[in-house]
Amino acid sequence: MSPALFQTALYASLALCSLGLVWRVSAWFRVRIGPDARTVALSQRVAALLRGGALALFSRRVFQLAGAVFLDLLLQRRLFANEKLRWLGHLLILTGFTLLLLMHALAAIVTAKLFQGYQPTLDPYLFLRNLSGAMVITGVGLLLFGRWRRQTGLPQARRPMDMAFVALLGFVLVSGFLLEAHKIASPRAFYRMSDQFIGSTDAGRLTPLRAVWASEFGVAFDDLKLPIDPRLLEQGRELHRSACASCHTKPVSAFVSYPMARVLAPVTDLLDTGRADAWLLYLHVFACFLGLAVLPFTLMFHLVAVPISLLVNAAAPNRDFSLAGRASRRALALDACVRCGICDLHCSVAPLARYLGNLGLLPAHKLQATAALAGGRLLGCEDVALRAADGAFLCTDCGRCTAHCPVGLDLEDLWEAGRGDLAAAGLPSPAQWVQAHPALAWAESLERGPAEHVDSGPDDLLAPLSADRRSFSRCVQCQTCTNVCPVVAHSMDSNHGIDLTPQKVMNLLRLGLRDLTLGSRMVWDCATCYQCQENCPAGVRVADIMCELRALGVRRLGAVRSLRESS
């Protein structure tokens, strides 16, 4: 590969990477999540960062920061507490990748400077390179295995680029090993070197040396007959010591590529003719450059975002942050999430996600929806947006996602902000969107709506009591329920009057006018205190019916909701 091409490609990908990094990092100050975040200007957010950073660095917090770097970042304490297997995988990748980067990719400016007489083909470098590569591959395998083993039947959150990047990483490693294996086995490489260091490519003259390299260095000469004469080997070793030994140790220590070289031996000739060394090198190097160039837009951006997020966590708990600081933290959280799905495993409402068939409840998916909403991508798809909203408002704020997140993200703050954004975008909680219109208007929409919208399934499983006359026909309209209802009592003396009373709701059911109750204030303001049900002389399950009417309202009014909004 020509140095000019290499350099151009290197600088081009470095430039792209830097631009990408600037763009992605600037998002931490640009992206606004939560209605409160919209009140802070970009400059305030940058100022908050500078102020907070300076405060943290020049206080006793600095020791806490150092501790966080060690325990949370390097040792990944939080991941260890969650899943030992994935922790091991992560540690292997981190160590292997760092070693490869410093010792191999940056060999010329790191290893060669630190260790005199560095040669990539000498031990321990040869061995260490194989070890590091094997560590990364094993680590990736463990992570994928961990994901697979924890499958709960619910798809895990991921972005398209995530898997593409893992594939690219795998490609870099495999092409690297193949290249090394091919170079070990290649007679062509042997002759190139002998020409350079012995000044000869004459097969006959080099036979003793070739014998040594065939039997001890794995070169696949197809014209050497086995077994090799020991005297020939003795002769060859002489030459080897004087010309090659200072740069080459036996490649058996390359415990991955040496066995690969043996496997490739039968086709080495073919590969030599096809100049495999050249194109494998191109593939390997350009795959690395491609990875570098797109890095800010892949999962690997977490290499930047996670350390910063952990440091910010160590600096102060979220509640001590100013609004400007919190706004930036939310944007940072979107990038620091590694989509590990550990939060999904522990989410209190994960079973509801399964029963409702709505992934929008799961925190890792919710985080992506939050990002999509902030990026203006969510509302484009009405169905997805509605489900995301359903999911967001069923969260119980139990905090388990936050407690388990290995990156230590304050997810509850993000959820609250996200719900605010959803509400502002016209997707508030059911109680809010239903009550935005009077009950009568909803009933009219139901009448106008196409039948298939309105009757989207049997009611009896969702609302068996309100579907069965026997459960309310006993009502004698005595008003006891209304008289004991605290919502009625507390609504009387204000302007927030209710439209119906519990007794009237029961009456509408008796008259077969259930649709008129679905959007009713009374139904949606019911506190489920069960006073009505406990006191009803006829044994009508008033409060249970109220719950049913809300569930039914969510579904039936939901079906005509978009018709309403657009009309």
């Binding site: 119980t396 909680s429 609504s491």
Partner: protein
């Protein structure tokens, strides 16, 4: 005595003192608490989808059943929700078969064995008021306490089987066991307003404030709670207001103090 401890969603995140004080008190009476990773009791889904609500609740019951344990919960809403689910599943065969199917998909099953107890029912009925009183070292003599019953534990009585829903006495008896004096307040059985907090904040606030005013007028010094939702609602409404305020105390804190347990064990 051994129970699976069902903390629900609110206590670990917003009221850890309730967990700490419950553990401290129950440990004293030899109750072993087992921690299982339960899911949401199902309450939020009640207004959304009856099947999902019942399945979520049943999954918790199945988890406890697999561990061979009954459930003890300090939360009145979780208590009521789980009891409701048991009722719905019992009376609706179709619901039950769909829920069983959903549970089976995850390898769970619920045969109906799991009992659900509230912290107060365990203290009053399983441990017994006499044992509680016997453990009291420094009775809270003279402290006038208003018992906050909590709708979801109390009603409907035929579902929750907590106490007489019209004229309950359990909470007052428990307060007496701690040496304190229960006060009679007209609004003691009223809703605290919490379920409406999201849907209608002003209405919810009026309900909470009416109760606080009533407790004060009735001469109470403390409102005693046994549900994180009631407790936090009283605190939240009082935090944002300049009106006369009243102290809130969890029953486990009241009893724990009377038993002479160190305050920091009780989250105080």
């Amino acid at each position: 005595m051994k129970y699976a401890l069902f903390l629900g969603c609110k206590i670990p995140s917003a009221l850890p003192a309730y967990e700490a004080s419950s553990r401290a008190v129950l440990a004293h009476f030899g109750v072993t608490l087992v921690d299982l990773e339960f899911n949401c009791c199902g309450y939020p889904a009640r207004n959304f989808n009856r099947y999902a609500f019942a399945a979520a609740a049943a999954r918790n019951l199945a988890l406890a059943e697999r561990a061979g344990l009954d459930i003890l919960t300090p939360c009145m809403c979780c208590f009521g929700t789980l009891r409701h689910a048991i009722r719905f599943l019992g009376e609706d065969a179709e619901l039950r078969s769909r829920v069983s199917e959903a549970l089976a998909a995850e390898g769970y099953a619920w045969s109906g064995k799991t009992e659900v107890e509230h912290l107060l029912t365990v203290l009053a009925r399983k441990i017994g008021v006499d044992s509680l009183a016997a453990a009291v070292r420094s009775p809270r003599t003279g402290l006038r306490v208003a018992a906050q019953y909590g709708c979801h534990a109390l009603r409907p009585g035929n579902v929750t089987r907590f106490d007489n829903p019209m004229a309950p006495t359990m909470f007052e008896t428990l307060i007496r066991a701690a040496g304190a004096t229960p006060v009679d307040w007209p609004r003691r059985l009223d809703c605290c307003g919490d379920p409406l907090h999201q849907a209608n904040t002003p209405l919810s606030g009026r309900m909470t404030r009416a109760k606080i005013a009533d407790a004060l007028e009735s001469g109470a010094e403390v409102i005693c709670t046994a549900c994180p939702h009631c407790h936090l609602r009283f605190d939240a409404v009082q935090a944002g207001s300049s009106d006369a305020s009243i102290r809130t105390l969890l029953y486990t804190q009241l009893l724990g103090l009377a038993m002479g347990l160190p305050a920091d064990f009780l989250g105080l």
